[in-house]
Structure formats: C-alpha cells, structure tokens
C-alpha cells in the first residue's frame, strides 16, 4: 500500500539526478583540466544511465532484440557526432 502511494524508485532517481548535477558543478572550482573533464564524463555517464533505468524503463520490455538494435544505433550516432566533430576541427583541420 505504502509502496503504491510513495514511488520510492522515482523519488530516489530524482534526488540522485539532482545530486549528480550538483557534483558536476564542482568544476567551477579551479581544478586541473583533466580532473574537470573526468568529473564531467563520470557524472554524465551516471546521469544518462540513471535516466534510462529509473525513468525510461530500459530492460523492462521482454523483447530484447529491438532494445539492443536501438542502443547500438544510439551509440553509433553519438560516436559519429563526437568523432566526426573531432575529425573536422582537430585531426582534419587545415593548418
């Protein structure tokens, strides 16, 4: 009964996502660049996984095939965007 009235999973997810956002603000202090990027990368990955698991119900579907195709395509797109941008502005830049 109490479980129905109080959605523990969602509240924990919500609070955790706020906490992760606050942690990311640590980069406002003067830290070495590598540490800052590291903090941002770790919190970003945690944040994304948190959203997927807590709110987007990943893995609750019985059909796994389309899920994997989707994740693979999403990762492909993200990598294309990141490495394509690096390709244009860093590795392939006319200098």
């Amino acid at each position: 009964m109490l479980k129905q009235l109080f959605p523990v999973k969602h509240v924990v997810g919500y609070v955790a996502s706020l906490v992760l956002t606050l942690i990311a603000l640590v980069v406002l202090m003067d830290l070495p660049a590598a540490v800052e990027i590291g903090i941002l990368a770790v919190t970003a990955i945690l944040q994304a996984s948190l959203q997927l698991v807590m709110f987007m119900h990943i893995g609750e579907s019985s059909e796994k095939k389309s899920l994997y195709i989707n994740i693979a395509f999403a990762i492909f797109m993200a990598l294309v965007t990141i490495f394509g941008t690096l390709f244009i502005f860093v590795w392939g830049w006319y200098a």
Binding site: F73, A74, M77, V80, G84, T85, I88, G92, W93, Y94
Partner: protein, 647 residues
C-alpha cells in the same frame, strides 16, 4: 524596457500587420461568440485526442504558415526584383529571409507532413488511434505554441535576423543584442519537444499497433517512410535540443560555448546545427517519397515496383543522412581529407535516391495511368526533383563548391529539392486524402488549373536563380547595383513569384469552391485505392475500423476488391476509445507564456509560467482516465448509416 522597444515601430508594413492581427483576432472572437461556437471549439477541437482531428489541425496550421512564409518570400523577391530597390531596408530584409526559412521548414513542411501522418498512418495499418493519443495532442499544442511564439516576433520585440541557420558569432549576443534570436532558440525548442514526442509516438504506433497479419514487409510504403522518418527524428532532434539550449545559455546567461573568446568556438554551432540540419532534410523528404509511392501506384493501377529496394534505399538514406553534415560548410577551413570524406558520403546518397526514382518510373511503365491532380503533382515531381538532385551532386563536390558556396545557385538547388520533394508531395497528398477526411474530393478541373500555375511559375521563379548564382550573386544580399547585371533575371523570378502566388490562391479557392459545390463521395473509395484507409466510409467514424481487418498480403484491400470479398464482415464488438482532455491545450498555453517571458528575460513571470507547466504535467500524471467504450449497438448503427448507400 520602453514600449517602443517592446513593439516593433517605424515601418508602415509592420503597422499594417499589427492592425490586421488585431482585426482578425477580434473577428474570430466576435464570430465565435455570435455563432455560439465556443463550446463546439472546445469539445471538438481544442480537447480532442482523435488522430484525424489533430491531423486536420496540423494541416490547417501548416496552410496558415505557408501563407506567412509565402508573404515573406514575395516580399524578398519584390525587394530584389530591381537594382537599388527601396521597398525594404537591410534589417527588415534580414528578418524576412530568416523567418521565411524557419517557418517554411519547421512550421510549414514538418506540420503538413505530421498532419498527413496523423490522419493516414493509423488508417493504413488498421489501428483505432495512435499509440499515445494524449501525447499526440501534447505534441500538436507544443508545436502550435512554438509556431505562434515565433510568429509574434515580427510585431513584438523584432524577429530573428541571422538566417535560418543562425550562425554564430552573428547570432550571438554581441552582434545581435536584441531579442530576435531569443525567439529563435525558444520557439524552436518548444516545438522541437513536440516533434520529438511525435517521433516516439509513431514508432510505437507502427511497431505495435498494426492489424493482425500485417508484417513489416506488408506495410504500405507511406507507413514505411514514416517509420524511418520517426527513427531519424528521435536520433537527430536531441542534437538540436542541446544546441538550442547552449545558444540560449550563451545569449541569456553569459556562457561562452559559441563565442570567440574564453575557449568558446563559434564554428561548433554550425557543426551541431548541421548534425541535426541534414537529417532534418530527410525528415521532410522521406515521408514525401512515401506519399508519391502511394499516389503513383494507385493511379498507375499497378503495385509498387521494387518494394523491397524502396525500403532498403530508405534505410540507406536514413543512415547516410547522419554522415554528410559537413558538406554545408566546406569552406569553413577544414582540410582536403575532411571535405573529401564528406563529398563521397554526400554523393553516395544519390545512389539510393536514384534507385527510388527508377522504381517510380518502372511502376509507371505499362501502367494504366490516370492523370488526376495528385498524380500530376507526382509526375511533375520526378523530373524537377532530378534537376535538384543533379545540382546537389554538383554542390557535393567540395572543390567546385568553393564557387557555388552561398550563392543563389545554392538557393535555387534547395528550392528545386524541397519544393517538388516536399511541397508538391504534401499538396498531392492533400488532394489525394482530402476525400477520406471530408467526404468529398477537391474539384479536379480547378485543381489542375492551380497545378499548371504552380508548376510553371515554380520553374520561372527558381530556374533563373541558377544563372544568377553562377554569375556571382550571393544569397541574402538585400540589394545590388545596376552594373552587376542581376536585374533582368531577378525581375523574371519576381514574375514567377507572382504566378506562384496566384497558383496558391487558386488552390485555396478550390478548397472553398469544392466545399460548397463538389458532389459528396458515398463510396469511401473515390480513387479506386489500394491500401486499408480506402476500405472505410468517408468521413471516417471516430473509431476508424468497426472490425480490425486481417491482412494476408500487401495491398490487401485492392485484392479483396478484385475478389469481391469484404474486409469488415466479422462480428462487431464494443470499442475502447481514449477520452478527450483539455490538459494538452493548457500545457501548450503555459509553454507559450514560459517561452515568451524567457525571450524578454522577465524572470518572475517566467518562473510563474514554468510552475504552471510543471503543475499541468503533474496533474496529467495523476490523471486516472481509462477512456470509454462505444457499445456494440452504436457501432452497428453508425456503420449502417455510413455504409447504407454503398453498393
């Protein structure tokens, strides 16, 4: 802020627009009150979750936006029709080409396609509505809020003026200090959320709600194209969301993502914009390919040639569409290797597109072709679009592009792709599916007159621009001197623009004329169609299918007609339908005000509007409404009434 910074002042054209906005709004309010239509409007339209009505509202909004974008276009052509023209000043011209681009792509082409998708997809796959009807209503109202927010900018605060691509540093706070580009970031953001949800909604609808027996490879081609488009939407739009958010932070909160100092990088905006922007082109053109496939196969009286290769080429196009974006900025400074890579991927897109063109030609081959209005648009599309495609391959060659870049040649190219590809498609689809929604056809003779006006004027308007571009006329220049020699061809283009205007007026007049005089269609299948939507009476009842048909092959309805078999002779059961809700509309209004206040950085009212948004969403999540049932007797009676006169 003083009132003369709030309202746009000093231009007689704008004052005229203000007066007409006030008059039209008053006329609507008075008319609704006088004819006692407020209740009707609220019950039947503002709160509806019916996919057909939402589709109609999308199309209506798109037609209004076509008018707005068209007026912008005619004003641009008028300003450049003669050397040293004084019709518009530079600032006004900048604002008009910016709003023309944004409105035509995001608030005309996309909603028109979404409208046709909404009306037709559930009917083609044998579903009673989309998977998430209320989410669908939210999508529409967010789109509408974004569109209205963008449109008021030209009387309140000033329109964005940095081009539809809003390149930094020009669009940044340093060079565009007024609120125009805030409108850009917020209006696109709000309607973009709606678009993203539409994409999700249609993927789930098509994957989960097909009639029994309809496997993926038995779906109509339009449904396939919408499925692939929806996938592109959900992978491309998040990039725009992020880019617009960073733009808003740069302009209103002093961040330095796209500035030229403190580690910011202006070129990153162009990069992110086109990571979204190129797939966006395919978002508006793939459904158009689907529409043409349906129409060509219907009026050639043949099944679609090369169904499987059509599907595969669309999948290849959707994959390649994410790998070509740098061809929009070959001249930005990246090296030959980068340009070479993106040149090749770009040219590769011509291959699957060519496959589709040949499939359409082979579908026509030895067909019994009926020259109806939608078919005329589809036939005109093939050669005109090919000109657009071939000039596209010319532009794709990076080294040659240094000549064409940012000239009128490019402008001519993308109008030759987008107008036949998207505008002809939505007009053809509009004529083709009109009887399904309203129960009568648009008059053929008047439709064909409009067609010839549009098709000839289109070429007169845009073909000269190829030559102007090759002569060195750059895009977005608001005036030129007589010595340049650009005058005569620009004047010719102006003549074409007037012809296009007449063509579109004839098209709208045809809607009015047909509503009054065109005989009503009693068969539900006026074109002798092939897919499931024609198996129902027109206009379609609210529950769509009284019984969901069983599918055994492609074009099931066509073969059922040949064999004289009925698709709907099973036992009728009670039908579960979603109930209407006013909350999506309220959410749209709340988002509109949130966007408006943030544009002007009025934080207190913005926070209030933001709380209203959150409260509406909270109220929605506590809604326990499981819909309602239409009892069997009611379905039987309405089917009898609707099919009574059928042979």
């Amino acid at each position: 802020m003083k009132w003369d910074e709030f309202f746009v002042t000093g231009d007689p054209l704008i004052y005229g627009a203000m007066v007409s906005i006030v008059l039209v709004s008053l006329a609507i309010l008075v008319g609704l009150t006088y004819f006692k239509k407020w209740g009707y409007l609220w019950r039947e339209w503002l709160t509806t979750v019916d996919h057909k009505k939402i589709g109609v509202m999308y199309i209506l909004a798109a037609l209004i936006m076509l008018f707005r974008g068209g007026v912008d276009a005619v004003m641009m052509r008028a300003q450049t029709s003669m050397p040293d023209m004084k019709f518009l000043d530079g600032q006004h011209y900048n604002e008009i080409f910016t709003t023309h681009g944004v409105i035509m792509i995001l608030f005309m082409a996309m909603p028109f396609i979404f409208g046709l998708m909404n009306v037709i997809i559930p009917l083609q796959i044998g579903a009673r509505d989309v998977a998430f009807p209320r989410l669908n209503a939210i999508s529409f109202w967010l789109f509408f809020a974004g569109a209205m927010l963008f449109n008021i900018s030209f009387v309140i605060g000033g329109s964005p003026d940095a081009g539809w691509s809003a390149y930094f540093p020009l669009a940044g706070i340093e060079f565009s200090p007024h609120v125009g580009n805030n409108y850009y970031s917020l209006a696109l953001q709000i309607s973009g959320i709606g678009t993203l949800m539409t994409g999700l909604n249609f993927i789930v609808t098509i994957m989960k709600m097909r009639a029994p027996g309809m496997t993926l490879m038995k779906m109509p081609m339009f449904t396939w194209s919408v499925l692939i488009t929806s996938v592109i939407i959900i992978f491309a739009f998040p990039v725009l969301t992020v880019a617009l958010l960073l733009m808003m932070f740069d302009r209103q909160f002093g961040t330095q993502f796209f500035t030229m100092q403190n580690g910011g990088m202006d070129m990153l905006w162009a990069n992110l914009f086109w990571v979204w922007g190129h797939p966006e082109v395919y978002i508006v053109v793939l459904p158009a390919f689907g529409i043409f496939s349906e129409i060509i196969s219907t009026f050639a009286k043949k099944n679609l040639y090369g169904y499987k290769s059509m599907v595969i080429s669309m999948l290849v196009i959707s994959g390649l569409s994410f790998l070509v974006w740098a061809h929009h900025f070959y001249t930005m400074g990246q090296g030959a290797m980068v340009n070479g890579f993106f040149s090749i991927t770009t040219m590769a897109i011509a291959v699957p597109t060519g496959v589709k063109i040949f499939n359409w030609l082979f579908t026509l081959h030895k067909g019994r072709i009926e020259f109806t209005t939608p078919m005329l648009y589809s036939l005109a599309f093939i050669p005109i679009f090919t000109i657009g495609g071939v000039t596209g391959v010319m532009l794709a060659m990076a080294s040659a592009d240094y000549q064409y870049h940012n000239t009128m040649f490019l402008v001519a190219h993308f109008h030759y792709v987008l107008i036949p590809g998207t505008v002809f498609a939505v007009i053809a689809g509009f004529h083709y599916w009109f009887p399904k929604v309203f129960g009568f056809r648009l008059n053929e003779r008047r439709g064909k007159t409009a067609f010839w006006f549009i098709i000839i004027s289109f070429n007169v308007t845009f073909f000269p621009l190829f030559f102007l571009g090759l002569q060195g006329m750059t895009r977005r220049m608001y005036t030129y001197s007589e010595e340049t020699g650009f005058g005569p061809l620009n004047m010719l283009s102006m003549v074409g623009a007037i012809g296009l205007t007449i063509g579109f007026i004839l098209l709208v007049y045809n809607i009015y004329w047909s509503t009054r005089y065109e005989p009503r269609d009693t068969t539900g299948d006026p074109w002798d169609g092939r897919s499931l939507e024609w198996s129902m009476p027109s206009p379609v009842p609210v529950y769509n299918f009284a019984v969901v048909p069983e599918i055994t092959k492609r074009d099931e309805f066509w073969f059922a007609k040949q064999e004289g078999k009925s698709l709907s002779d099973k036992k009728i059961e009670k039908i579960h339908m979603p109930s209407n809700s006013g909350k999506p509309f309220i959410l749209g209004i709340a988002f509109f005000f949130l966007g408006f206040f943030v544009v002007f950085s009025w934080w207190t009212p913005a926070i209030v509007a933001g709380i209203a948004v959150l409260l509406t969403m909270a109220a929605m999540s506590f809604d326990r409404d499981d819909g309602y049932y239409i009892p069997v007797e009611e379905v039987v009676q309405s089917e009898k009434r609707l099919r009574g006169e059928r042979v």
